[in-house]
């Protein structure tokens, strides 16, 4: 159904596969991440920039089967004091965002305001509405 990939500054990576519950996000390496990718169905999300990342799924299940559907799937990156810009590009099924200290040659460049330091840059896909979402949230989704 999907997977996420942590890419590290030393060139290694760690893949979390939906079909392998042992490949957990929080219990695997979280230091030295330089970018994260998330693939779900035909959605693709990617955030670039060294920092703290988080991945979360909002699901829904009903009684009695308990079989879940994914309502929202997201990746997040904590915005730090040295982050000045979010450069991003995308389409209906993809968003790529880069957190950096300079504007890049992307379609959209957003300057990060001082009040956004300490918040979470969030990319999400919403299968039911076939949308991808870019936002900055106060908290990591959990």
């Amino acid at each position: 159904m999907g997977y996420w990939v942590k890419h590290f500054v030393d060139g290694t990576k760690y893949v979390g596969d939906d079909n392998n519950p042992q490949t957990t996000w929080r219990n695997s390496r979280n230091e030295g991440i330089c970018y994260v990718e998330l693939v779900h169905l035909d959605f693709y999300l990617r955030i670039d920039g060294p920092g703290e990342y988080w991945q979360s799924d909002l699901m829904e299940a009903s009684f009695p089967s308990g079989t879940p559907i994914v309502k929202v799937r997201s990746i997040q990156r904590l915005i730090g004091p040295g982050d000045l810009y979010v450069n991003r590009e995308g389409n209906a099924k993809m968003i790529r965002a880069q957190v950096a200290n300079s504007p890049m040659n992307y379609k959209t460049v957003n300057a990060i305001r001082p009040d956004q330091i300490g918040k979470w840059l969030t990319l999400a896909c919403v299968p039911a509405t076939q949308l991808v979402v870019y936002t900055i949230r106060d908290n990591k989704l959990q």
């Binding site: 159904m1 519950p21 219990n27 988080w54 799924d57 699901m59 829904e60 009684f63 879940p68 959990q142």
Partner: protein, 181 residues
């Protein structure tokens, strides 16, 4: 990782495979309380667990429509009279052995740990009700890992005294939750 919920009728018990039949009731009657146990398949806790009433999405065998049934059940919960009030009630005080004060009443539709599904309260995903810590959860909305102990809650249905339409009503109880693998 996609995490599934497991509903059972006993702690750590077999997965329920069928809908619950609450039985045949006369108007003004109340079903026996059904105890539902809940756990999940994740390797870490699930968080932000909430529940709400929604229209049946499975096989509908009622006399109206699934959407009409939902509207009627919510309407029962909304009613402000002794003759018209009823609906789907939830008691989440498992740690207190589901005491009588944990059940909603006409005069107190939102007691501590109790939910009467009605407009603006567990009637949609927007207004889903938080899973109480007194269900056996480790915190509000947080369900621990493992097959035991399970969180558990009770449900029952009150048919309003003035209900005069015979027929089957169907609904679903849906759960929202977040998970990081």
């Amino acid at each position: 990782m996609t995490v599934g919920l497991i509903f059972s009728s006993t702690n750590g018990g077999a997965t329920l495979s069928a809908d619950i039949d609450c039985g045949d009731l006369s108007n003004g009657a109340t079903t026996a309380a059904q105890t539902v146990y809940l756990r999940h398949t994740g390797t870490n806790p699930i968080t932000g667990v909430k529940f709400y009433l929604r229209a049946c999405t499975g096989s509908y065998v009622g006399a109206a429509t699934a959407i009409a049934d939902l509207a009627e059940l919510i309407g029962w919960g909304d009613n402000l009279t002794a003759l018209g009030w009823g609906g789907v009630l939830v008691n989440q005080n498992a740690t207190g052995s589901f005491p009588v004060p944990g059940w909603p009443t006409l005069l107190n539709k939102t007691p501590t740990d109790g939910v009467c599904c009605r407009t603006g309260k567990a009637d949609s995903s927007t207004y889903a009700a938080n899973l109480s810590a007194n269900t056996g959860a480790t915190a509000i909305g947080t369900v621990q890992v493992g097959t035991s102990p399970n969180v558990r809650f009770q449900c029952k249905i009150v048919v309003p005294a003035n209900e005069d339409t015979v027929g089957i009503r169907q609904f679903e109880l849906a759960f929202l939750f977040s998970y990081t693998s």
